[in-house]
């Protein structure tokens, strides 16, 4: 059930350049699914900020978000401290429908702030016994985060735009060289990356997660739409029908 809660920050860490990992307490934690996001009120701002769920600890009843400072809102969130409370709408949107999928081998492809939701997804996949391969793209070395955590889920490859870490180039450069079978790929990141990934993997089945500027975050305002591939005169809401879509369902860019 979607709701709005004041949740206490129990951990607030900087984990890479301008990148923060924030964990909050929530009785709803166990219900959150990979790919879903939460909608956070930043005091003094009219519109909430959507942030993906990066991990869940069911026993501790906590969930974790990872975000990068982009503008004023994420800057203010970066200045919060443990013990502060955040006003959060949760859970929002669709999730990677892994319960329904026949899966042996999954490829995770993440770029920048698209990496966090894939971590929670990878954890759940691993729990299900799925073999996970991760290809993660970052701007540069100082931006890389969660590499070891992804390695614990399976083979992990890193690309950086500037070549300061891992392979110089894009995630697609790595995927091209990967010689592994996959049942599904799961991708999240900036639209140009998603375009490149879905084009490269056009013959594979996959799910992608999209971003758009949001108003309500719950499906009432029609701010966050994406056109459908088979009928671009129709669209779907990223906040409610998405953010996770079947890769061939939507028209990117």
């Amino acid at each position: 059930m979607i709701t709005k809660k004041r949740l206490e920050i129990i951990s607030h860490l900087q984990i890479a350049e301008a990148t923060f990992e924030v964990t909050v307490k929530s009785d709803f934690a166990a219900e959150l699914k990979p790919g879903q996001f939460v909608h956070i009120l930043v005091p003094g701002h009219m519109l909430r900020r959507p942030i993906s769920i990066a991990n869940v600890d069911r026993e501790q009843k906590t969930f974790t978000m990872i975000f990068k400072i982009f503008g004023e809102g994420t800057k203010k969130l970066s200045e919060c401290r443990s013990g502060d409370y955040l006003d959060i709408i949760l859970p929002c949107g669709s999730h990677y429908p892994i319960e329904e999928l026949e899966l042996e081998h999954a490829l995770l492809v993440g770029g920048g702030i698209g990496v966090p939701p894939l971590y929670y997804l990878g954890q759940q996949l691993k729990e299900k016994g799925v073999k996970v391969t991760s290809v993660l793209g970052f701007q540069g070395k100082s931006h890389v985060f969660y590499e070891e955590k992804f390695q614990q889920l399976g083979d992990t490859y890193i690309a950086t735009n500037d070549g300061t870490y891992g392979k110089k180039g894009f995630v697609t450069d790595i995927i091209k060289e990967l010689d592994q079978p996959m049942d599904y790929y799961f991708s999240c990141g900036p639209t140009p990356m998603l375009q490149a990934v879905t084009t490269l993997l056009a013959n594979e089945k996959g799910y992608i997660s999209l971003e758009e500027r949001m108003g309500c975050g719950v499906g009432t305002c029609y701010a966050c739409v994406v056109p459908l591939k088979n009928d671009p005169t129709k669209n779907k809401k990223i906040c409610k029908d998405g953010p996770v879509f079947y890769a061939n369902e939507v028209l990117l860019g």
Binding site: M46, R48, G219
Partner: protein, 304 residues
């Protein structure tokens, strides 16, 4: 405390309703709370045919406000009647349909089609749309066009018609008089002010449509002024809106002369905005010495 308000075609248990375009057709917020608590519900605009709306980004944040250029996305009036409105039937809350169009004919078509709905109690005539025939001039900024569309929709509709005024005018009273002259049962004010925000990195307007409608607390002083002016000139029911986020804001609108109010942008900030405002309203009214909603209406007017 008596919160009830009686308006043409609308018996409201309280004066607070979500504003058009900020509440979809009610389904989503019904997951947050019981829609029976609401005074009424104004649903998203209906046009003759389905509309895709504008390209994205469709919203941007401003100081104490937001810009939107949704572009009247909706499934078309027929689908709204068959697929969307029935969901609201079980609730003991009157529904107001928001009527939009690009030509007088389209407005009339939407209004006529809505006659067959059993689920609505009134129309809100959204005249802030650009008239494609008149080269994009807004119906809402030209008194003659406003008159024409109001007159024809009144003629076509079986429901009371609340005309939603645009604030992008020099003289709001002229517009109000124009539509009341030809039979508007009430006014709904204000719609958004046209604004723009430019993305410094991209060197282009943030909103794909370039301009968008400014809403939120930033515009409240303009809404209050316009309602006050119209109330001084006319004795007509007014549904007031523009930046309401608290019960105090509601009382300010009542004092300015609104008979009821709508809450728009605040729903996005706080999905519980409407029920929380309704809950606090009795206490705030009595704090300022009012014994009912009716008691407060128009009481901010100073008579020299």
């Amino acid at each position: 405390m008596n919160l009830a308000v009686q308006l043409p075609g609308l018996t409201l248990k309280n004066p607070v309703m979500p504003a058009s375009g900020c509440f979809g057709f009610g389904k989503e917020y019904s997951e947050f709370y019981d829609l029976n608590t609401l005074g009424a519900i104004i649903v998203k605009a209906a046009t003759g045919e389905a509309r895709y709306g504008n390209p994205t980004p469709r919203v941007a944040e401003t100081s104490s406000g937001m810009l939107n250029a949704i572009g009247l996305q909706n499934p078309g009036v027929e689908k709204i009647i068959t697929d969307e409105l029935p969901f609201l039937r079980p609730f003991d809350t009157p529904v107001i349909a928001n009527v939009a169009g690009s030509t007088v004919e389209e407005y009339v078509h939407v209004a006529t089609t809505l006659n067959k709905s059993q689920d609505i109690a009134a129309l809100e005539l959204n005249i802030s749309c650009p008239n494609v025939k008149e080269g994009g001039v807004q119906f809402g900024t030209n008194p003659e066009l406003a008159k024409e569309v109001t007159y024809k929709v009144k003629e076509a509709s079986n429901f009371p018609v609340y005309v939603k005024l645009s604030p992008n005018v020099s003289n709001i009273t002229t517009m109000a008089k124009a539509v009341v002259d030809v039979g508007a049962d009430g006014l709904s004010m204000i719609n958004t002010l046209t604004g723009m925000q430019i993305n410094l990195k991209k060197r282009a307007p943030i909103i794909a449509n370039k301009t968008g409608g400014l809403s939120g607390p930033a515009i409240k002083p303009i809404a209050i002024r316009m309602i006050y002016e119209v109330r001084q000139a006319l004795d007509v029911p007014i549904i007031g809106m523009g930046g309401i986020t608290t019960a105090e804001d509601v009382v300010e609108f009542l004092l300015a002369g609104a008979n009821a109010v709508a809450v728009g942008t605040a729903n996005f900030q706080n999905p519980y905005a409407c029920p929380e405002i309704i809950e606090q309203l009795p206490q705030v009214l009595s704090e300022y010495g009012f014994s009912s909603v009716a008691d407060a209406i128009g009481k901010g007017h100073v008579h020299e």
